[in-house]
Amino acid sequence: RSHLVASLLCLEGMMMSLFIMATLIASNTHFPLVNIMPIILLVFAACETAVGLALLISISNTYGLDYVHNLNLLQC
């Protein structure tokens, strides 16, 4: 009985750890131009979060809850 939003939270955690790693690389190697990369990463992570949450809302509208075992249209 696991939620779909738990996977979205883990995805957010991955994006945050990538942001922290890129910022620390930019600060420790004294290369300020690399600071562009975490900012752009944040922009595209925000897009991805928005689309993921929209899919979550449409799943929750169809099935009532966002349990992962509800997504079973393909049955082999």
Partner: protein
């Protein structure tokens, strides 16, 4: 405190274990917010003041707020916290135990965690032209160069955000 960066990184991993052991989404969001705050302080400790501010504003202030009310809207049941089910508690304890073992192993080595006191990595660049002397921060100047060398990247990112909003509206409309 000398080992502040090491302690903060251990707290960051513990916060990540807190939401990756998959409690109910509200508690997972809380653990993500705490991890975000700790990660921001790590970035601040290495001299990236502008990056820490960006992370607080965009990430914690924007995306976590959206996560919070979407979770509150899409979930209605009895939320399970870290101590209620055996799977969540087991995952949390395994993660914490792995982190404790890693910390003990790192501290038992000779030169892995040392105190680095150096003034070469505080991150300020002193400029001496113009009238008097000035001071620029490396990270805000670097991020400002996004609008100089990365003009086309700004246009692409802005267009991506616009199309993303349109995609979200089309998905939520359904049928």
């Amino acid at each position: 405190m000398a080992y502040i960066l090491f302690t903060l990184s251990v707290l960051l991993v513990m916060g990540f274990v807190g939401f990756s052991s998959k409690p109910s989404p509200i508690y997972g969001g809380l653990a993500l917010i705490i991890s975000g705050v700790v990660g921001c302080v790590i970035v601040l400790n290495c001299g990236g003041v502008y990056m820490g501010l960006m992370m607080f504003l965009v990430y914690l202030g924007g995306m976590m707020v959206v996560f919070g009310y979407t979770t509150a809207m899409a979930i209605e049941e009895y939320p399970e916290t870290w101590g209620s089910g055996l799977e969540v508690l087991g995952g949390l304890l395994v993660g914490l135990m792995m982190e404790v073992m890693l910390v003990l192993w790192v501290l038992s080595l000779d030169e892995a965690v040392v105190v680095v006191v150096g003034f070469s990595d505080t991150g300020d660049w002193v400029i001496f032209e113009g009238e008097g002397s000035g001071l620029i921060r490396g990270d805000s100047i670097g991020a400002g160069a996004l609008y100089d060398y990365g003009r086309w990247l700004v246009v692409v990112a802005g267009w991506t955000l616009f199309v993303g909003v349109y995609v979200v509206i089309e998905i939520v409309r359904g049928n």
